[in-house]
Amino acid sequence: MTDTARQIPDRLQSRASRALRSWETLLLAVAVAIFIVNSFASPYFLNAWNLSDATFNFTEKAMIAFAMALLIVAGEIDLSVASIIALASTAMGLAVQHGAGTPELVAIGLGVGLLCGAFNGFFVTVLGLPSIVVTIGTMSLFRGISYIILGDGSFSGYPADFAWFGQGYVFWVITVELVIFAIIAVIFGILLHKTNFGRAVFAIGNNPTGALFSGIRVARVKFILFLLTGLMSGVAAICLTSRLGSTRPSIALGMELEVVTMVVLGGVNILGGSGSIPGVVIAAFVMGLVTFGLGLLNVPGIVMSIFIGVLLIGVIALPRLLAMAGGKRRAR
């Protein structure tokens, strides 16, 4: 019955040809284009220190974006990440008032992040509620708790060595945050693309029922993903608080939407099932370049967001417009 001459090949196209036509390549081209435009637009652009400072535009958001990318690939979302930053930062500020040192602050920042992630995870995986509304709720709750603790005020007085995270440099011009960003990118890249766990994430995102019926512990995987976004929010909280040197309840307000923008710009399908970490890395650079370049031209932040908004919609709309134009000749 079997015909060895008709054996099924492993792949139809080479991996190289598939890579060439991918989203990441398109985005990389956009990134390069923006870089070139920026270098002509402002004389201050091609300066190592300025570029280094520019990385702050995206490093903290990207740290969260990597975890968020995995979560979105799995078909969920976490809109409470910025509020977790607020709560973690507030907790650290409280700890400082009670004389905590840097190691304790790091532990608290990460711990609060994990706890918030577990809280989200519980509602979504144990109670089975839709993550978008749960995290809209916790978004209010977590930041709300920060407001209850801090009100209108702020915490400062962080220990001097705490500033290393957000204000430190290694290897001359490379910031500590950039290094942390790179390490996290590599870890999440390996996690999503090279491990069984990552394969499970893709399976769940494509068909949660099918994944369950295939023996994947869907609830456990999703819970871990929420823990990860919580944890990364904690890491971002440490970096951001360290960089600013103070805490207000309004810290990182609105950041969740920038994180989601970064993930979607990176080619991750908001509906789940596909995406890549390299894509998110490039998207982080694209967003950083745009905001930095516009900043050099003294464009106000709020107008910058127009560019980001247009970029977000444009990058997704363009392939579809092209497909429509091409397909018009054929009858549907």
């Binding site: 099924i8 399976a203 494509n206 029922t209 099918g210």
Partner: protein
């Protein structure tokens, strides 16, 4: 019933291609007023594509559709509906949150002077339609509160409300009880007497010969033959479908039964099944028969760990095991090939090889890291063993035909080297050729020492393949049949509860 009458709808040389696949290749199909035409073909023959072309979901790439002789082009589903073509699908495709009347009239509700929906008139008209087809419920009922048979009735009422000329029925009896099926046949006769042209798609030969006047056979997207049902018989039809003579013979088996591998005692669920107990031996094929809704799939899903039983014990190779999740089940060598291939079986969006290796990743990977070479090797091995037809192993499993997707699902589970394999309606919706392949395969698995549980609603399959059959009714085991006691009559009697209640017969 004149041969020369103009068909109400005709498809002339219709072609429809998708990337890499020619779903329809210059096919012909004629539907006549007041007659039932059966569209017959294996899986992948092009039947569902035909339905989508007729209902305006797809535009054909070539050929002409004619209504009463005049060529038409359906720009969209609305246009087809306006032309009088409606379809009733296996899973009724309506709105649970709306009322029966709203479901019947959505898209064409009667209006008052101000453009608002005239609810009074709508309910009146709905009542009339429901009475016409003998439907016993209130048009104000929310659709969600009705059973599947009644939902079909609503769909038919809707077809009547748009004064459809053509009613397409796509496997409408799949989820119906015997009584409901007879009622449906009566309804079809009524629609015929009203002059509707009916396209009836079914895999069940007895159904085809019972209600169809004409037949059209497709094979691999091409037209093979059409004609009057009176002029052919089952064998000819099968021959046309498959292109070769296929005897409905099941593989001869010499079951050599080994020791008990799987034992279930007192399994109960609050609402789905109670007091389930049976033993399974190596090399055995245990059939589970029952009416739809008897609780067989629910039991199997509990055995597989999808749902949790309220009480009960299961033993594997004599040792008690607790199965709380599919992962537990797989670790204990129990695997489940589900009935719903698309949603529960295959993961569409992932490539074939990843589907096959998904439960076996801890064997192909190293310390949690993926090893693609090992994965491809494993996938290649099982793809060859099951004679899978696909362009490449890294293609999306969603591109495969139903029969091949089923092979991927089976391959996936065989790769875990299970002890017990549960197959839930394994040949449902699959063409005859592939059915025979699956049956041969099951026999081979049993011969190799696997224990096989087969849930099936097809009597020939149950009788032909099983060593023993357990019959379930309303969540309980009502009979265990084997040998001479295993006949279609006893199966049906126990499943429907005719005669004595709980009988244990064995050989």
């Amino acid at each position: 019933m004149t041969q020369a009458a103009t068909p109400v709808v005709s498809m002339d040389a219709i072609t429809k291609t998708f990337p890499g696949v020619k779903a329809l290749d210059r096919v012909h199909l004629n539907l006549y007023a007041g007659q039932v035409t059966a569209l017959v073909g294996e899986n992948g023959a092009g039947k569902s594509t035909t339905v989508k072309v007729l209902t305006g979901i797809y535009r054909p790439d070539g050929g002409t559709i004619r209504i009463a002789g005049a060529p038409v082009v359906f720009a969209n589903a609305n246009a087809a509906a306006d032309a009088g073509i409606t379809a009733i699908h296996q899973e009724t495709v309506l709105f649970d949150e709306l009322s029966v009347a709203e479901n019947i009239f959505i898209g064409h509700a009667p209006r008052t002077r101000f453009g608002l929906i005239d609810t009074g008139e709508m309910h009146r008209a709905a009542e009339t339609l429901l009475a016409r087809i003998g439907a016993p419920f209130d048009p104000r009922t929310r659709l969600r509160d009705l059973g599947i048979a009644n939902k079909h009735l609503v769909a038919i009422a809707r077809a009547l409300s748009v004064d459809a000329r053509v009613v397409i029925m796509d496997e409408p009896t799949a989820a119906l009880s015997h009584k409901e099926i007879e009622e449906l046949y009566a309804l079809v006769d009524k629609l015929k007497s009203e002059g509707k042209a009916i396209l009836f798609i079914s895999h069940k030969f007895d159904e085809i010969f019972r209600i169809a006047d004409r037949y059209t056979v497709f094979r691999d997207g091409a037209f093979v033959q059409d004609g009057l049902v009176a002029d052919i018989d089952q064998d000819i039809l099968v021959n046309l479908m498959v292109g070769r003579s296929v005897d409905r013979i099941f593989p001869a088996r010499q079951p050599s039964l080994g020791e008990d591998v799987f034992q279930v005692v007192g399994y109960s669920h609050p609402t789905e099944f109670a007091d389930i107990g049976f033993t399974l031996r190596r090399g055995e094929i245990l059939g589970f028969y029952g009416l739809i809704g008897a609780g067989r799939s629910e039991l199997m899903q509990a055995l597989f760990g999808i749902t949790k039983p309220a009480k009960g014990v299961c033993k594997i190779d004599g040792a008690i095991r607790v199965i709380r999740s599919p992962a537990d089940a797989v670790n204990n060598g129990i695997v489940y090939v589900p009935e719903d291939r698309g949603k529960q079986g295959a993961i569409i969006g992932l490539p074939i090889f990843q589907n096959i290796t998904l439960p076996s990743l801890n064997r192909t990977s190293r310390s949690g890291f993926l090893q693609l070479a090992q994965e491809f090797a494993l996938a290649r091995d099982y793809a060859t063993r099951l004679d899978l037809r696909a362009a490449a192993l890294d293609q999306d499993v969603g591109n495969l035909s139903g029969g091949n997707q089923q092979k991927v699902v089976i391959a996936k589970w065989l790769a875990t080297q299970p002890r017990v394999i549960i197959l839930d309606e394994p040949t449902k919706g699959i063409d005859i050729g592939s059915k025979a392949a699956v049956h041969d395969f099951m026999a081979e698995l049993a011969a190799q020492g696997l224990a096989v549980i087969m849930v099936s609603s097809e009597i020939p399959e149950v009788v032909g393949m099983s060593d023993r059959v357990i019959v379930m009714r309303e969540g309980r085991i009502v009979a265990e049949l084997a040998g001479d006691a295993l006949t279609p009559e006893t199966l049906v009697r126990h499943a429907a509860g005719i005669g004595a209640a709980r009988v244990m017969e064995g050989a």
